[in-house]
Symmetry: C2
Subunit: 209 residues, 2 copies
């Protein structure tokens, strides 16, 4: 079988970490660091020549940050697999990175060997994540189990959040428009809001829908 050599680019501003990763990866058969940068701008400039299969991307960087970097790289070479490697594990950054196009997310407290596994995993169609990141991602799907809203109210609010009008909602759940109005009035009262936008905002924030 032909050797499939995985071409890897590192973007990381800490020299020690960058060189450490490079050494580890280069000394592994089948993995090659084609280049290592300390900022996104340079990495993007050399993207055509480097032609990486995988980019290991830090988030906090001088100049363009990692999130923007991910976006630009994915726009220029959509097939590039990007794994974020960072110390940050707060919700906002993780979801921003994934939305921008990251295919994996590791926090720097991993064992070095995990890095190699992750590269292999993402090349095989996986999405390598540190345990805490995976949990955050999965949790993001789950609703609040202590919603003040009834099942029907939740259903109505969900349809409302899809931009549907009272009349459309009424048709879809086979009740009168007046009933929908009553449900919405009760929703507003329970959520202590006075408009559709406020209700949706609060519902999303508390994961009621």
């Amino acid at each position: 079988m032909a050797l499939q050599n995985i071409r890897i680019v590192i973007v990381e501003d800490d020299n020690l970490i960058r060189d450490g990763f490079a050494l580890l990866i280069n000394s592994t058969y089948g993995y090659t660091i084609v280049n290592a940068y300390n900022n996104c701008e340079d990495a993007i400039k050399h993207l055509p020549e480097d032609a990486p299969d995988v980019v290991l991307m830090d988030i906090e960087l001088p100049g363009m940050n990692g999130i923007e970097g991910i976006e630009k790289i994915k726009r220029l070479r959509p097939k590039t697999n990007i794994i974020v490697v960072t110390v940050y594990d707060n919700d906002s950054l993780v979801f921003q990175a994934l939305c921008a196009g990251a295919g994996g997310y590791l926090t720097k407290n991993m064992q070095p060997a995990r890095l190699l596994e992750a590269i292999k995993d993402i090349q095989e169609g996986g999405a390598p994540m540190s345990t805490n990141i995976a949990r955050m991602v999965v949790s993001s799907f789950q609703k609040n189990r202590n919603s003040p809203l009834t099942a029907r109210e939740t259903e109505v609010l969900e349809l409302l959040s899809k931009g549907k009008s009272y009349s459309t909602i009424a048709e879809e759940i086979f009740v009168d428009k007046e009933t929908v109005r009553t449900h919405i009035k009760n929703i507003y009262w329970k959520l202590e809001v006075h408009s559709k936008a406020e209700a949706i905002e609060k519902a999303l924030k508390h994961k009621l829908i």
Copy 2:
């Protein structure tokens, strides 16, 4: 250090698979199968006595299906960790299961040892997933990179999808209401729709927002 014995319940209607899992797990130190059922109803009935830390749940089951089962179990014992183990890997089922409260999702083509890893992982705050499932989950965050909409139009549509009115959107992005109206007219033209609800529906479907 005190032995931490993980209490596990299996819900799986295939006798062969169920007994296989049970044998594997019971023969591993620190893991105990407290009970194994071939349907959700029985598992839920015995939930208080079984007091499982982890439930391994199949999806296709006689009677109540796995999704409903997950919901009920999480409602009764929210701290129970549920791992779905199934042959199905289509988007809809995966997201339904995660929304219902599953904390992990494995497809049955795994190596048996993966099951033990997964149980350990979920007990330690992770979210074990098969590679293809992880990729599906991560992909669900990513937007279509070939949107027909401009950046501004996307921004407007995003705000519209949060239930905001033209005037509110105008205020938030510091332009005139008339400008918002123009953007929305262009959005409708590009998406070939004639209302807010249709636009949002189409945008969500094609992951434009």
